[in-house]
């Protein structure tokens, strides 16, 4: 049996909108993944530390209050420092203007799923990425 996909989900910064990410945690578990939801007010350091400790395949960050261009680069820098940028799938979700998506991705985020995304699409994306990583 294949190892379960391990996902770290976290809010980051001081944004408190957590309806979406709590819902995702439940739905990812129902899709067969192992999920750690870290809760509110996490720092980039906390998130990356947890991902290392939990040997995570995926980090999902939720940002709805407009801090994505400030906070995301801090996470990607830490992942690069630890040479994990190709080992861990980094996803960002929330309220992200479409015109910011290229900038967010340019820091090393694999994909951005804004509010209004279907969970089945996110789950598919994760499975495909994990499968591709297994082949390389």
């Amino acid at each position: 049996m294949a190892k379960k996909i391990r996902v770290i989900l976290s809010k980051i910064g001081l944004d408190g909108h957590d309806r979406g990410i709590k819902m995702l945690a439940r739905m990812f578990r129902e899709a067969g993944m192992e999920v750690v939801y870290m809760g509110l007010y996490q720092t980039p350091e906390n998130v990356v530390r947890a991902a290392v400790q939990e040997d995570a395949d995926v980090i999902g960050l939720s940002i709805l209050s407009g801090e994505h261009l400030t906070l995301v680069p801090k996470v990607t820098a830490l992942l690069k420092e630890q040479k994990l940028e190709n080992e861990i799938l980094l996803l960002v979700g929330g309220v992200i203007p479409r015109e910011d998506v290229p900038a967010v991705k340019s820091h090393g985020v694999h994909e951005v799923f804004t509010a209004g995304s279907l969970v089945e699409e996110i789950v598919d994306y994760i499975h495909q990425w994990v499968n591709r990583r297994a082949k390389t």
């Binding site: 407009g66 309220v95 203007p97 479409r98 015109e99």
Partner: protein, 552 residues
């Protein structure tokens, strides 16, 4: 081409396949007199302006006064926000409606190490008196109804700053009118639990109610926020039940301070959601109005008609908006605003269509006001009070939502009351369950959302009116101003005011802290510092994020 033809032919035979409201109430194909046969018009509906106010709190409704058209505003520093406020007022907004940023709700200052990147982003940054002075510049406080959206315990500080500013301008407190949200308990359901421990939340909320009842009589002391609760995904009936449950905690606290029910209830108001299920929302607002009148009369013995009148603002449902094909949101917002008006709203905020994408631009903000103005001046819907009253369907649905709400009240009671329902995490569980079920319905296409799971299109490259940004220099300037204030103020006077506040906090829960908070503000103390003293008095850390130490 072939695909287009196929779509046309399949939609031609399409049936409406939903037999329930979005909150899950069963619907019949049609309603007739049998569905309202048990209703005594005078006892349970009544004319508009008559108990139990099902049909509205005023007899002539909008002919007496149109609803207040307010648009939430708060961006960057007090300076930027003051400019946008004046723009909105010039364009016909009825009054300023200012929202504070995330550090402000948390009760920390802009120079807090964890605040970087968040200062002035989702609201205005308010730290010291100087910010309120700039925010209100050019706005006559004795001739304006000013709405401050700060729900957290820090409302006690920001309201006091507003009072000091009025004093500075020589304005009598009795002439001040406006409102402050001051609903700190609900804030735990907006991702701010550490900012609003229940004891501090209840205490600061009741302080404002008590102080205003005695000294600022025209101020609306609390806007009980049902809207934010609803945004968690709960049903229409849960919105009323949970919101009222929280509101009654403040009311009981005010009674414990010795206030008479009819002296302070007329100055409470509500903030409701108008979601996308049109008739359900209208019925919800009617049911809430009737229930409030009954609770105030039967449970609290209120006699003043104003105590029995459910006064409310509406915020169209942000969570009904989606980033896909964003202009569609303007349509959703317009229907929701119509529901609010047909439900008898007193004050309305329309979302901006770009809300699920970014902060509103000047252009999207303007469209939100214009949506209200078209409703008010062109459609004629404001001409007659409660135009849907007497509809077999609406009256039946109003009754059903009331019944559903009463069932939830009973369940809360069985769980040991609202404080216990909050503390035990039951309310959180209900919200999480509701949000999950809603998403599952969307995934399974039991619930259709245009652009999300039906009629999808490739994503737009850009937001139609661009994206509002807060330049990094704005945050830098705000932080420098706070640092400068802290360095340059008269330290002994500041220390004395802080010590005085501490002494007052030791006198117990019933000691109103607004007078000593006012002294702190005059001595240059900031929101984070004053809140820190109050938090510590209740055994909580000075800093809700536990990253910094007290400066005293």
């Amino acid at each position: 081409m072939a695909e287009t033809n196929e779509t046309v032919s399949s939609s031609y035979h399409e049936k409406f396949n939903r037999g329930k409201t979005w909150s899950g109430l069963e619907l019949k194909e049609f309603y007739n007199p049998a569905d309202t046969a048990g209703i005594d018009y005078h006892r349970s509906i009544g004319d508009p302006g008559q108990y139990p106010y099902t049909r509205g709190i005023h007899r002539n409704m909008y002919r007496g006064r149109l609803w207040t058209r307010r648009e939430v505003c708060g961006l960057g520093s007090a300076r930027e926000t003051n400019e946008r406020l004046k723009f909105l007022l010039r364009e016909g907004a009825g009054g300023p409606n200012v929202i504070v940023d995330v550090p402000g709700e948390l009760g920390i200052d802009a120079d807090h190490p964890r605040a970087a990147g968040e200062v002035g982003v989702t609201g205005v940054s308010i730290n010291s008196l100087a910010d309120i002075t700039v925010l209100t510049e050019g706005i006559p406080l004795d001739k304006t109804s000013f709405s401050l959206i700060v729900a957290a315990p820090s409302a006690e500080v920001m309201f006091s700053q507003y009072l000091v500013e009025a004093q500075r301008r020589g304005i009598d407190f009795r002439l001040l009118s406006g409102s402050i949200q001051n609903d700190p308990i609900h804030l735990r359901y907006c991702g701010f639990p550490p900012a609003a421990p229940l004891d501090v939340a209840r205490k600061t909320a009741v302080d404002i109610i008590e102080y205003c009842t005695r000294y600022v009589p025209r101020w609306y002391t609390t806007t009980i926020n049902l809207y934010d609760l609803r945004e968690n995904g709960i049903s229409a009936a849960q919105e009323i039940a949970f919101g009222f449950g929280i509101g009654l905690i403040y009311i009981d606290g005010a009674i414990e301070r010795g206030l008479q029910i009819d002296d302070f209830i007329p100055r409470l108001s509500f903030y409701c959601s108008a979601h996308i299920d049109f008739f359900e929302e209208i019925a919800k607002l009617r049911a809430a109005r009737r229930l409030w009148a009954k609770i105030m009369q039967e449970r609290y013995g209120a006699k003043d008609p104003r105590s029995l009148q459910f006064r409310f603002a509406v915020h169209t449902a942000g969570c009904s908006l989606v980033p896909q094909q964003p202009l569609n949101n303007a349509i959703r917002i317009a229907y929701e605003a119509l529901a609010a008006v047909l439900g008898g709203v007193q004050s309305l905020h329309c979302c901006s269509y770009d809300e699920p994408i970014a902060l509103p631009t000047e252009q999207s903000h303007l469209l939100a006001i214009r949506t209200q103005q078209v409703l008010a001046y062109e459609t004629g819907v404001a001409a007659v009070s409660d135009p849907l009253g007497g509809s077999y369907y609406i009256e039946n649905l109003t009754d059903k939502i009331e019944e559903e709400t009463l069932k939830i009240f009973k369940e809360i009671e069985d769980r040991g009351g609202m404080l216990e329902a909050i503390n035990s995490g039951w309310i959180d569980q209900e919200m999480e369950k509701a949000a999950l079920e809603e998403q599952q319905r969307i995934e399974k296409r039991d619930r259709l959302v245009v652009g999300v799971n039906v009629f999808r299109m490739p994503p737009e490259d850009a937001t139609p009116s661009g994206v509002q940004r807060i330049p990094a220099q704005v945050e830098q300037k705000i932080i420098e101003d706070v640092e400068k204030l802290k360095k340059e103020r008269h330290r002994p006077a500041w220390q004395q005011a802080i010590d005085n506040l501490k002494r007052h906090t030791e006198k117990g829960e019933k000691e109103n802290l607004i007078p000593p908070v006012i002294e702190c503000i005059k001595a240059g103390a900031t929101v984070g510092e004053i809140m820190g003293v109050i938090r510590q008095a209740y055994g909580h850390p000075y800093d809700p994020l536990e990253a910094i130490q007290p400066p005293y």
